[in-house]
């Protein structure tokens, strides 16, 4: 048996194709979202600590650093949402007889539409 050439994957494989970069960014949204969730729990905990503590936190959250972190968290959350909803039709194809329903239709019905409803519900819960 003659010898063979065994290529190895470079450590920076995720930089080798634009699609791989996009994949890695998508996966890393989990870090941003995870950190935001910890922050959210802190905000919720403050709501339970009396009005004065809450008003102070609300004021602190208008600072540049807090705004910047929120913008980053929002970017990550949006990228997660959009990539997730767009992939949903691939993971859950829907058929009407022989016809497979078009991906954008499924993405809208199973993703974007509920997203709008939940968003409205949350804003209403915070502001009503």
């Amino acid at each position: 048996m003659s010898k063979r050439y065994h290529p190895t994957q470079p450590w920076n494989w995720f930089l080798k194709r634009p699609a791989y970069v996009k994949f890695m960014v998508r996966e890393l949204t989990a870090v941003a979202i995870g950190l935001y969730l910890i922050y959210l729990l802190r905000v919720l905990a403050t709501v339970g600590n009396g009005e004065a503590a809450f008003v102070e936190l609300a004021g602190a959250m208008t600072g540049t650093r807090a705004r910047l972190l929120h913008v980053l968290a929002l970017a990550a959350a949006l990228f997660h949402s959009v990539t997730w909803f767009n992939l949903t039709p691939k993971a859950m194809p829907m058929y009407r007889g022989e016809q497979r329903l078009a991906d954008p239709l499924v993405a809208f019905g199973m993703g974007y539409l509920p997203w709008i409803v939940v968003t409205i519900l949350i804003f209403w819960g915070v502001c009503a």
Partner: protein, 116 residues
């Protein structure tokens, strides 16, 4: 090849992914731009509103489910990303760290929400 309980973690990841996709953008906008205010009277209004709405068991339950499953979603994704990036010799350590973290977040969420 080993029998795998991966189906369980994947299911949590999947459910958490849907909930995070649906709820997190609005939550970020809420904390970042609705709750955040330097006007004390607006803050007082928000406080009263949040106190009221978080008092409903259904809202507590919804928040708990969203936060907990989203933590498990993040944990699973982080675990697999670390594996994709080369951290491969320590499968059990990764699971304990990632899912343990999600569990800690779940407990914290329960403790915080049940007080309302």
């Amino acid at each position: 090849m080993s029998k795998s309980n991966e189906a369980l973690w994947w299911s949590l990841f999947s459910a958490g992914g849907v909930l995070a996709a649906l709820a997190v953008p609005a939550l970020v906008l809420s904390t970042g731009f609705l709750v955040a205010t330097s006007d004390p009277s607006v803050a007082a209004e928000r406080y009263a509103q949040l106190q009221s709405v978080l008092g409903w068991r259904i809202v507590q339950l919804a928040m708990f489910v969203v936060v907990s499953l989203s933590f498990f979603h993040c944990a699973h994704r982080i675990r697999h990303t670390l594996m994709d990036l080369g951290v491969r010799g320590v499968p059990l350590l990764l699971m304990v760290t990632c899912y343990g973290g999600a569990l800690a977040g779940t407990v914290a969420a329960a403790v915080i929400l049940v007080k309302f």
